[in-house]
C-alpha cells in the first residue's frame, strides 16, 4: 500500500533524467543520421571525382592500364574494344553504373581524342559503398560516444544536486518523534532553504506544543497525588475514631476529600475535551441567558457568604458557543469571584457591547491578586498564594481554552478600588448573521 503510494509521487530526479535522455536521444539520432548520410554521399561523390581525375589522366595518355599495379584492385583501367569481353564497347562516354559478372561497377568511359581509343576507368560499387560507409561511421561513432559520456555526466550531476535532499530525508528518518531538533540548513541549496525554514518553524512549534503537553501530564499526575494522599490518610484515620461523633466528623472530611478528587478529575476531562477540538457542537446562544443560568446556580454560594451578588448592567447580546464552553468560562469567573471575596463583600456581573464585541465582566471586592502572580495564574494547576480555598488551579486554564475555541479574549486585572476584574470579550453575532 505504502510502497504504491510512494511510487505515485513524481520523482524530480527521474523526470529530469527521463526528459534529458529522451530529448538528447532523439536529437542525437537525427544529427547522427544526417551527418552520417551526408558523409556517405559526399564520400561517393568524392570517389566519382577521383574516377574522373584518373580518366582525364588516361585521356591525356599519362596513365594506361598497365600503370596501376594489378594488386590494387580498387581502381581498374581497361581498354574497350572487340577483345574486351567484360565491358561492352557500346557504352557512351561519361559516368555510369554497369554490371560485370553480377557485380555492380561504377565506370567512367572516355575516348582519347588523338587515338580514338576508348577506355573505361571503373571501381566496384560494393567497395565504393564500403569506403563511404566507413567514413560515415567515422563521423557517427565519435558523436554517439561523446553523447553517451555527456548523459552519464548529466546523470551524475543530477544525482549530486539531489544529494542534500536525500541526506535531509535520512536525517528526518532518524528522528524518533520525541526530539524534534531543527533540520540542518548548512550546505543546502538556496532554492530549498525557504522550504526548510518553514519545516523548521513547524518543528519548533510542534516541539513547544509537545513540551507543554508533557509538562501538563506531569503536572496532572503530580496534582492527582495530593488528593490521593489526603484520601489515603483520611481513610486510615477513620479506624482510630474513638467516639461516634468523632467517626462522623472524620467520615465527613473523607467525603470532602473525595469530592475534591471528583472535581479535579471532572476538570481534567473538561480540559481534555476542550483541547481535542472535536465533539464541539456549535450554536448561537443568548449571552444573557447563559449568564443568568450560571448566576442562578451560584447564587447559594454567594448567599452563604452574605455577598451582595447581582448584575449591574446588561444588554441583549447573542454570541457563538461551542460545547457549552461559555457556561464553563462564566461559572469559573463568578465562582472565583465569590471564593476570593470575604464575607459581606460584593460581586458584580455586567454584560455590555463594545465595538461589535460582547463583554462579560465580573468584579469582586476581594483583596486582589499580587501583580507578580497575574501572569502565573493562567498556568495549569497554579493556585494563588495563601489560597485557603480548595481548588485545583485548573479553572482559568479551562476558561483560556474556551476563549481560544470561541475566538474570545480574557483579561484579569486588579481594580484601583480593590478586588479583581475578570473581563471576557467575544465577537457579537448579529440577528441577521443567523440566517
Amino acid at each position: 500500500m505504502d510502497g504504491q503510494q510512494i511510487n505515485h509521487h513524481p520523482s524530480l530526479q527521474h523526470q529530469l533524467n527521463r526528459w534529458i535522455l529522451t530529448t538528447t536521444f532523439i536529437f542525437v539520432t537525427i544529427a547522427a543520421i544526417l551527418a552520417g548520410g551526408l558523409t556517405f554521399f559526399e564520400a561517393r561523390e568524392l570517389q566519382d571525382d577521383i574516377l574522373q581525375e584518373i580518366a582525364s589522366l588516361v585521356r591525356l595518355n599519362k596513365l594506361s592500364e598497365n600503370t596501376i599495379p594489378k594488386s590494387d584492385e580498387s581502381i581498374l583501367i581497361q581498354r574497350l574494344g572487340p577483345d574486351n569481353k567484360n565491358i561492352s564497347n557500346k557504352l557512351d562516354d561519361g559516368l555510369q553504373t554497369i554490371k560485370i559478372d553480377d557485380d555492380d561497377w561504377r565506370v567512367f568511359v572516355l575516348t582519347q581524342s588523338v587515338t580514338q581509343q576508348r577506355f573505361a576507368v571503373g571501381q566496384q560499387t560494393e567497395l565504393r559503398d564500403e569506403i563511404a560507409w566507413n567514413s560515415s561511421l567515422n563521423v557517427f561513432w565519435p558523436i554517439v560516444s561523446l553523447v553517451v559520456l555527456l548523459l552519464l555526466i548529466i546523470n551524475v550531476l543530477i544525482r549530486q544536486t539531489f544529494k542534500p535532499l536525500k541526506q535531509l530525508a535520512t536525517h528526518l528518518d532518524k528522528h524518533d518523534g520525541m526530539q524534534l531538533s531543527a533540520l540542518p540548513e548548512t550546505n543546502m541549496p538556496k532554492e530549498i532553504v525557504p522550504f526548510l525554514l518553514s519545516i523548521n518553524g513547524l518543528l519548533a512549534r510542534l516541539h513547544q506544543t509537545m513540551q507543554k503537553q508533557q509538562r501538563f501530564i506531569a503536572d496532572a499526575a503530580h496534582e492527582l497525588r495530593t488528593p490521593v494522599t489526603a484520601l489515603s490518610l483520611l481513610s486510615e484515620n477513620i479506624k482510630q475514631a474513638t467516639t461516634e461523633q468523632d467517626r462522623e466528623q472524620r467520615q465527613l472530611l473523607l467525603q470532602q476529600g473525595f469530592e475534591r478528587l471528583r472535581l479535579l478529575v471532572a476538570q481534567l476531562l473538561d480540559l481534555a475535551r476542550l483541547q481535542s477540538d472535536y465533539e464541539s457542537h456549535t450554536e448561537i446562544v443568548s449571552f444573557n441567558q447563559v449568564v443568568q443560568n450560571v448566576i442562578a446556580d451560584l447564587y447559594p454560594l454567594a448567599e452563604a457568604k452574605n455577598i451582595d451578588f447581582g448584575v449591574s448592567r446588561q444588554e441583549k447580546l447573542t454570541v457563538l458557543d461551542k460545547g457549552a464552553g461559555l457556561s464553563h468560562l462564566m461559572r469559573n469567573a463568578i465562582d472565583n469571584a465569590i471564593r476570593y471575596t470575604p464575607e459581606g463583600g460584593t460581586v458584580n456581573v455586567s454584560l455590555l457591547s463594545e465595538a461589535g464585541n460582547a463583554v462579560f465582566c465580573v468584579e469582586d471586592s476581594g483583596k486582589g491578586i499580587p501583580e507578580t502572580e497575574l501572569q502565573l495564574i493562567f498556568e495549569p494547576f497554579y493556585r494563588a498564594q495563601d489560597n485557603i480555598q480548595p481548588g485545583n488551579g485548573l479553572g482559568l486554564t479551562i476558561s483560556l481554552e474556551v476563549a481560544r475555541k470561541l475566538g474570545g479574549h480574557i483579561t484579569l486585572l486588579n481594580r484601583a478600588e480593590g478586588g479583581v476584574q475578570f473581563r471576557y470579550v467575544q465577537a457579537i453575532i448579529k440577528p441577521d448573521d443567523i440566517k
Binding site: 503530580h222 495530593t226 489526603a230 490518610l233 484515620n237 472530611l253 495563601d386 480548595p390
Partner: protein, 218 residues
C-alpha cells in the same frame, strides 16, 4: 513530643494532624514557609514534617534557613516530588528523611520514631533506664518484667521524660511536648496523667522535685 507540620494542602494537613494526635503527638500545623520559621522561633519541636511545594518560601528554603541557624532539629520531608534528584537535594540540604506522597500513617510514624531516636543518639528503639523500658512502637512500658499498656497521653508524657532520663522537666515543658496549639489544657492535666502512670508503674518510677517538675531516674 511536639511536631511541627508544614503542609499547604488543607485535607492532607488535617489528616496528618489527626493521625499524629491519635498517636499521642502534639501537632502544630502551619501552611507556609514563613509561618513555619516563626513557629520554630517561638517553640521547640521534636520533629518537623516539611512539605516542599509551599506557597511563599518553599520547603527547601525553610530547611536552608533552619540549618544555617545551626538548628539540628530532625526534619522529615513529605512531598509529592519523587524524582531522585529531588530526594538527593532534600537530603543534602539537611533533611533527615524523605517521604514521598502518598504514604501510610504507619510508615510516617515509624520514620518519626526513627529520626527522633537517631537525634537522641539512641540506637535501641526501646527507651530505658534502670527501672523502666518504654517501647515506642507498642506504647508499652515494662517494670520488673511486668508490661503495662499506656494511654496516648500517658505514653507521650513518659516518652518526653524517658528521652532524657535524669533531667527535670517543668509543667510547661511537659505541656508543650504533649499538647498542640489548639488544644485546651486543664490546669491539673499533667498531675492527672502522672497520677495514672504512677498507679500503673509504681510511685517511685516518676520522681517529683518540688517547685521544679518531674524526672525519671537515669
Amino acid at each position: 513530643m511536639r511536631i511541627l507540620l508544614v503542609e499547604d494542602d488543607y485535607y492532607i494537613g488535617r489528616a496528618i494532624q489527626q493521625a499524629l494526635n491519635d498517636a499521642a503527638y502534639a501537632v502544630d500545623w502551619v501552611k507556609d514557609g514563613d509561618a513555619a520559621l516563626s513557629a520554630l522561633q517561638a517553640q521547640d519541636y521534636g520533629v518537623i514534617l516539611l512539605d516542599l511545594g509551599l506557597p511563599g518560601k518553599d520547603g527547601i528554603e525553610v530547611l536552608q534557613t533552619l540549618r544555617k541557624a545551626k538548628n539540628s532539629i530532625p526534619v522529615i520531608i513529605t512531598t509529592a516530588r519523587d524524582a531522585v534528584e529531588d530526594r538527593i537535594k532534600g537530603l543534602d540540604y539537611g533533611a533527615d528523611d524523605y517521604l514521598v506522597k502518598p504514604f501510610l500513617i504507619s510508615e510516617l510514624q515509624a520514620r518519626i520514631r526513627a529520626v527522633v531516636r537517631r537525634n537522641q543518639g539512641v540506637a535501641d528503639p526501646i527507651l530505658s533506664n534502670d527501672v523502666l523500658e518504654l517501647n515506642p512502637v507498642t506504647h508499652e512500658v515494662k517494670v520488673d518484667n511486668e508490661a503495662y499498656v499506656l494511654s496516648a497521653r500517658e505514653y507521650a508524657l513518659l516518652h518526653a521524660l524517658m528521652l532524657r532520663p535524669g533531667n527535670i522537666m517543668s509543667r510547661d515543658e511537659l505541656e508543650d511536648s504533649i499538647y498542640g496549639w489548639n488544644e485546651e489544657v486543664a490546669s491539673n492535666a499533667i498531675e492527672f496523667i502522672i497520677h495514672g502512670l504512677r498507679k500503673k508503674m509504681g510511685r517511685e518510677t516518676i520522681k517529683n522535685v518540688r517547685g521544679l517538675g518531674w524526672m525519671v531516674s537515669k
